[in-house]
């Protein structure tokens, strides 16, 4: 089982080989409510850590999703176009947002592990 990393913007990152899969956490989907649309970056998009990477729309509002790391998008989750509710039903599985290569894998060290993220969520 590959290790999960977390940001304080409630994203998860799973690194498999050179490629990181990115999505939002269960806490985030719970806060957003029913997701009705996700705008994802296209393959080839250069991402800069902390800059806008995607937009997730709930019934009520649009929320920006920030790039957790520097790198380049290799694939967006096309299944979310037809079924954005996957973000609610399976945020850390089928509801993933995009895959990316990492420009600098040492950036992962600044992220939280699962235990630290859990502790962080409990403070909110």
């Amino acid at each position: 089982m590959s290790k999960l990393h977390f940001t304080d913007d409630h994203e998860w990152i799973r690194l498999e080989g050179d490629v990181a899969t990115v999505g939002i956490t269960d806490y985030a989907q719970e806060q957003l409510g029913d997701v009705v649309f996700v705008e994802l970056p296209e393959a080839g998009t250069a991402l800069e850590k902390g800059k806008e990477a995607a937009t997730v729309e709930s019934v009520k509002a649009a929320s920006e999703i920030y790039a957790p790391l520097d790198g380049e998008v290799t694939e967006a989750n096309a299944a979310l176009a037809d079924d954005p509710a996957k973000v609610n039903s399976d945020p850390q599985g089928e509801g993933w947002f995009f895959k990316m290569t990492l420009a600098d894998s040492s950036q992962l060290d600044s992220l939280m592990d699962e235990a630290a993220y859990k502790a962080f969520v409990e403070t909110l």
């Binding site: 409510g33 029913d34 009705v36 649309f37 729309e57 709930s58 019934v59 009520k60 649009a62 176009a81």
Partner: protein, 374 residues
Amino acid sequence: MSDTADDLKQTPLHGLHLELGGRMVPFAGYAMPVQYPAGIMAEHQQTRSAAGLFDVSHMGQVTLSDGGDGSAAAAALEALVPADVQGLAPGRSRYSFFTNDAGGILDDLMITRRPDGLFLVVNAACKDADLAHLQAGLAGKAEVRMDETAGLLALQGPAAAAVLSRLAPEVAEMSFMTQIEVVLEGAPCRVSRSGYTGEDGYEIAVPGAAAEALARRLLAEPEVEAIGLGARDSLRLEAGLCLYGHDIDATTTPVEAGLTWAIQKRRREEGGFPGAEVIQRQLAEGPARRRVGLRPEGRAPVREGAELQDGQGAVVGRVTSGGFGPSVGAPVAMGYLEAGLAAPETAVTALVRGRELPCRVAKLPFAPHRYHRG
């Protein structure tokens, strides 16, 4: 949220919202539930398919009394609103708005004629300003009193009549936009057949101390669930109903907003309300812009503030409310467009995050009204 929670006012149902798992957010100075654990989508569908109970106790409940039968108060109120208030029979309600000298809308409200005066319901965010406006405008003609402690519940949906009839059979026969006094769960209430969802239903003014018991009694009925502000907004948007401060405000006139049905014939002819010249001229010549419904293509919602462009890229309007319509199953929006572009099926473009999203002008409402016209 937590740093301002202490400053927020609470409705009589505050404890019940917390008990039901309501997610409380600041709204017009009150802590209000935006949703319960079921979520906005489920709460919306619940209201369209059975019945939803809404806490709208944050709204302002104002009584106007003139010491007589209310006719003096009705005549005086006509100086502030373009509705035919004098023509309103006791027990009947009308939608109206306070206008300013430019014909803009200061707030929208419900006016009900009582045997001894008038009963108004105004928006929470405007209620202090409305109270001052009424007191200044009606000075010497009517006593203006706002009840800060009363509760206001809305029971909405196709099962609302069956549910409320179990508590008071006489509500079943009420027609849309009428009001009666009824004892519910031992408390004297004013029940109106009206609402803000496009569905049949009731709005119930209840003494604050009795509000929670009544809410619990209604929630105990199998058809009823608690509904938050999130679904209230998606329901009213699908029903094509204006939200003050968004679709209408001090810079939009009733003619531009498509609300001329709420200005009765006598008032159109006689005027005598703030901004009458502007409104009468727009009635005669047509307004320069109109409120329209918009259906974005695709699934991306188009939200408030998005600019609207014509085929040449010129800015021709702006979105004032937008989101996803759970019953429509697609994004829906309202906004203002130049009058020449306001016909249904006209193609326009909305700018969303720098991208051009094609939209078509659509007839309102998006979800058919199902009022009980009796």
